[in-house]
Structures are given as C-alpha cells and as structure tokens.
Amino acid sequence: MLRVRGLRARYSDGPGREVIEGASLEVGDGEVALLTGASGSGKTTIILAVTGVLKFLMNGVVSGVVELDGLNPLSLEGFSKLPAEVGVVLQDPDKQIAMPTPIGELVFTLENLGYSTRDAVGRSISLLNRFGLASKASQHVDDLSLGEKRKLTIASAIIHQPSLVILDEPTASLDPWSTRTVVELVSSMKKSGSTILVVEHKPFYFKSVADKIFTLENGRVERIDLDTGSSHPRVGEKKRRSVGGIVLRVENLVAGYGEPILTVDELHVGGGEVVAVVGPNGSGKTTLLKTIAGFIKPVGQGRIEKASCFYLPQHPDFTFISTTVERELRDAARSVGFSELASLFPWFEQARRANPFTLSHGQRRWLANLIAYGYSRKLILMDEPSTGLDDNMLRELERIVGLLASRGAGILVSTHDPRLLMDLADRAYSVEGDRLVERDPVDLAIEMYRVAGVRFE
C-alpha cells in the first residue's frame, strides 16, 4: 500500500516555488491508481518526491508523510531499502535503459539487489521469454523498437517483484499497438497482486484497469470520478482549410535504407493543407519524410515533385545553429521576411537575445516551426511533432501548425498519434503492410484508439 499525506516538494532549499503543495493520495494493495494532470503540473515531481529521489539525490526539499508498506522513503534508511520494494518506469525508455543489452539491463537490476549472477541470469531469461524479448536478449538495445524498449523498462521494473510499481507516462511516444501491450501488462500485473500507480495524461487508455483516479492541479492532488477523469476523446467538427496548388507529389516511390521499407504509389500535399502519414513505430514514416527531404536516396525509380521544403526533426533542439533567438530568425528569413517571422513568435521581445536552448520546450518547438517556415513557406515535413505532448501542449502545436497552414504552407506530418488525426489533419495516409493507403483521418483515429483499447460508445 502507498499512503501519501500532506506532501510538499520543491527543487531547491532556497526561496524556490513549491511544485507540490500538500498532496495526499492512497493506493491500496492490488489497486491501480491513475494520476493525471497537465504538463508542468508536477506529476513527475510527485514520483521523484515519493521515492525520495528529490530529497536524497537532487537536493530538493520534501516534507510530509510517505508510507510504503511500512517503509518511509523520506528517511535515509527507508530510501536505501526502497529499490527492493518499488519498481519505477520512467517516461522515455531511451533515457532510462542504462545497459547496452536487454539481458544486461535485467541482470544489472537483480544484482544490485543482491541476487547471485546465476539467479539473476536465470530469472532475466525467463522474464524476457514472458515479454517476448528472449530472441533479442543479447542484441544492442538500440536495435529494439520503441515498443520493445518500453516492454524492457517494464520488465526491469517488475523483475524483483516489488510491492509497488510506478509508471510515468508509459504510453508516451508509443503507437496504439504498443499502447495496448502496455495496458495489458498493467492488467496482468494487477492480476498478480501488484499495487500500481500510473502517471498519465491520457488516462482513457487505462480506464479498463484503473480502480481510482487522481488529478494534480496547482500542486494539489484531488480524487475525481473515474468516468469523468478518463473519458475518451470526442469526435469534434473540424474546420475545412482552403487548399492551394500542389506543393508535393510522390509517385511509385520506394523508401528505405538500401532495402525497401515503404512503398508509396501516390501521395500529394496541397498548399495550406495538413496531411498525416500514419503507421506503427518503425514502419518507415521517418524514412519516407527523409527521402522526400533528400537526406536518403530512394530505392529504385520513383518520382518526387516538390516545392522547396524543410524537414523538422522530432527533437526541435537539433534545428538550432545560432546563439540567440533573433539570429536564428534572421538566418531563417529566406522565403519570408525577418519581421514577419519575429511577429509570429509571441515571446520575441522578451526572448530576442536569449539562447534558443534556454527557452521552454513549447517555445523551442514554436521557434523550430518558424525556422522551417522561414526556409520554406511552401512545404514543411514534420517528424512525430506530438511526441510526449499533453493535450495543452498539443493545442499549442495545433495553433502554430494551423497558423502556418493558413499562410499557405503545405504540411506533411508523420505520426502515430490519433489526436493529431482527430484535430489537425485534413487528409491522411496509413501504412498498411508496406504500402501507403489514403484514409479518412477521423475514421483512422477512431480505429487507432480502438486498437489501443479505448471504447467509443
């Protein structure tokens, strides 16, 4: 059982703002509890505070009562015993997996806790078998798909059979197929009696397994009704955009790194139109965008007719080359004037001399989008732009993409996020087998939600 009473937490012992201001929650034995809240509301901070990491490793200030099966992780003794009692799955598998191979990752966890190498290897092989990863036990972790990496982080969190498992945004960056696998894993952990806390900004995925739901707002935790808190996304009315001339036409293209990965019979994007390319992790969406951008040579003969274009990577930071926001925008002012670009950046006056890397995540993404627009006002290729964004940040992304589309830019987005299809895409192509097929975006979004286990009445 996890019991938290009056938890207060901040990141430094100076006059810093309290991120958590008196949070209380309780998760009973064998229960699954969801903790939801907007980005920046402190969801991850609660995990760091409850596990003692904030207090003992990050020099943060934490007060209040945390009880975990009689253990107090806010005391030094409790903190040192915590790893045996808790398994934690962090948001990004690439940041969490520390060992180069799946078997190494699991053995490492067990050996830390005092298991002999023989026992550790035996248990690890058996769990990798259960998770369908045995054939990849000694491969480099980087050869695993994102869904497999997520499975590995969950395996690593439960291999020592902890009494509490905490999962931080376990569906972030995952396609609906992998999301369903994660939900099924949580369900099977629940059946085996584990107590589980899932921190998630898309709680509807876990509605079928959750016993209770808490929301975190303004540093306070409140229990809310399960149905209200995890209601599924609604199908709304979408505004039709006016479409200009064709800015991208692709015919009979085979994309891949030497070997074919994805075949495109026909794909086109009009000016002012947002078109999504949808498919599971690793289905070749990024390869297609990079082939269109000219970074990768197509396999065989194919036709790409395009206006000048700009490829935006998943990580906006990789786009920046200058030391100030102003220099970035001046440098990017190729197809659009600098003053127009500056007027489109809402924080320009305060941030013009700031280093782009010091901006908030949302501001950096906004700036990267404007740089792309500055280089090419006609066609922008966006690679998985909604990765890790909660609904509020997604609205921001939609705002900037909508703004650029309204100015005539054609936008091709690769994604496996049904929210983008539901709210943003005018048209969509879906990867089916190894081919791209045009589909209605809303139908496709509903189908993807269903694959992930979300029920639409």
């Binding site: 990491v53 830390n112 023989r118 026992d119 290897v121 092989i125 480099h140 740089i371």
Partner: protein, 225 residues
C-alpha cells in the same frame, strides 16, 4: 564453445598495446600486428571505422616520417621531394605500431558483447562499480550519440551550413544540442539506476580463465532450470 574470459583478453590486449609502444623491431612488429588482424579478418566490416581512421592517420604518419626521419640513401622522388630510406623505415614502423593497436582493440571489441565487457571488468578484474557502469553506459550511449550527430549534420546541411565542423562556432553549434540531449539522458539514467539500487550493488569477484560455454550459458545453467 569455450573462449577466453574478458579479463584475460583485456590483459592480452593491454600487453599487445604496450608492446606496440615498446618494440622497435620491424619484423617483430610485423609478426605481432598480423596476429590480431588474422583473428578479426572475418568480421572486419564491423570495425571498418577503426581501419578507416587508421588509414586517415597514415597520411599524418607519412608527413611526420618525411619531416623528421628522412635520412639515408634516396630511394625515389615524390613531386620532386626525395624519399630516403630512413623515412620509409620510420613510416612502416609507426604504421605497424598503429596497426597492432587497432588490431588488438578490434579483436577485443569483436570477441565480446558489451554486456560481457562491462561485467568482466567489474567481476573479474575488480574495477570499481562506477567505472564498469561507465563503460557499459558508454556502449549504450554511442549509437544514440551517433544518431543524434547524424540528425544535427542533416539539419546543418538543410540550413546551408557545413556538415563537418571547421571553426569553433561550428563546433559549438553542433556540440550544444548534442551535449544538452546527452546530459538529459545521463541525468535520467542516473536517477533510473539509483532507483534500481545501484548504491547497494555488491558484486562477488571471481577470476576466470575461460568461459566454457559462453558467458550467459555458464551463469544461467542452474538458474534457468
């Protein structure tokens, strides 16, 4: 199939590398440098970057030999510049030394998985857990860094900049995002390993000469039953 343990292979690699610095005899160097090369020739594609770097460095070796050891009888002229016996010998000597180091390193890399290397260093050679964790984490990070670097290069080309950094400004603008993302990864990996009880880690030291059936098999035989 049994193979040498990581610790023994590490000691052999270290010895060969030291010999590369110590030995001065051309024949001995030629003999020793062909040994690891012969052992790795089948999988040489996997370490082609090592040999590519070696080839690039040979240009520097040649220039050095011509500048500092160009003594003795003239053998031939290159663009009017006399190449003497001493320069040729010096070039071959240093090249063979580098080949020996590259070959020994490649043999070690190709013979063991990152898992075996990291654990072998900790368990068999008794290196501190922090050091062996760093080695393992380096193996984990390298492909990620390479991927990020390629992405940054693509972005620079797209923005009309040089792909290869030539000025301090180029280097700064390439390293900043790389380090920023790398730091964030390292930070969270640190949190993750602490939550997995890294501070509690006590590994029994055990020296082995050979792994009889391969590392995993040796250790899992009883546990998997």
């Amino acid at each position: 199939m049994s193979k040498l343990s990581v610790s023994v292979a590490f000691i052999i690699t270290l010895t060969l590398t030291s010999l590369a610095f110590i030995l001065d005899d051309l024949l001995a160097l030629a003999f020793l440098s062909t040994l690891p090369l012969a052992l790795t020739i089948k999988n040489i594609k996997k370490v082609k970057w090592v040999y590519l770097l070696l080839l690039i460095s040979l240009v520097g070796v040649l220039v050095n030999a011509l500048m500092f050891s160009n003594k003795g009888a003239i053998l031939f002229l290159v663009f009017g510049l006399p190449v003497r016996w001493g320069a040729l010998i010096a070039f071959f000597k240093v090249s063979l030394k580098l080949l020996l180091i590259a070959g020994a390193g490649s043999w070690f890399i190709l013979s063991y998985s990152p898992f075996e290397v990291a654990r072998g260093l900790e368990r068999e050679l008794g290196l501190p857990k922090g050091v062996s964790f760093s080695v393992a984490y380096a193996f984990r990070l390298m492909p990620l860094l390479a991927r990020d670097f390629k992405e940054i290069q693509d972005m620079r080309v797209q923005r009309g900049r040089r792909k290869i950094p030539l000025t301090p400004m180029d280097l700064a603008s390439m390293l900043t995002p790389l380090l920023r993302v790398g730091y964030e990864r390292a930070f969270w990996a640190g949190v993750a390993v602490e939550l997995k009880g890294f501070r509690l880690r006590r590994v029994k030291h055990e020296f082995k000469l050979f792994y009889r059936n391969g590392y995993l098999q040796d250790f899992s035989a009883d546990g998997a039953r």
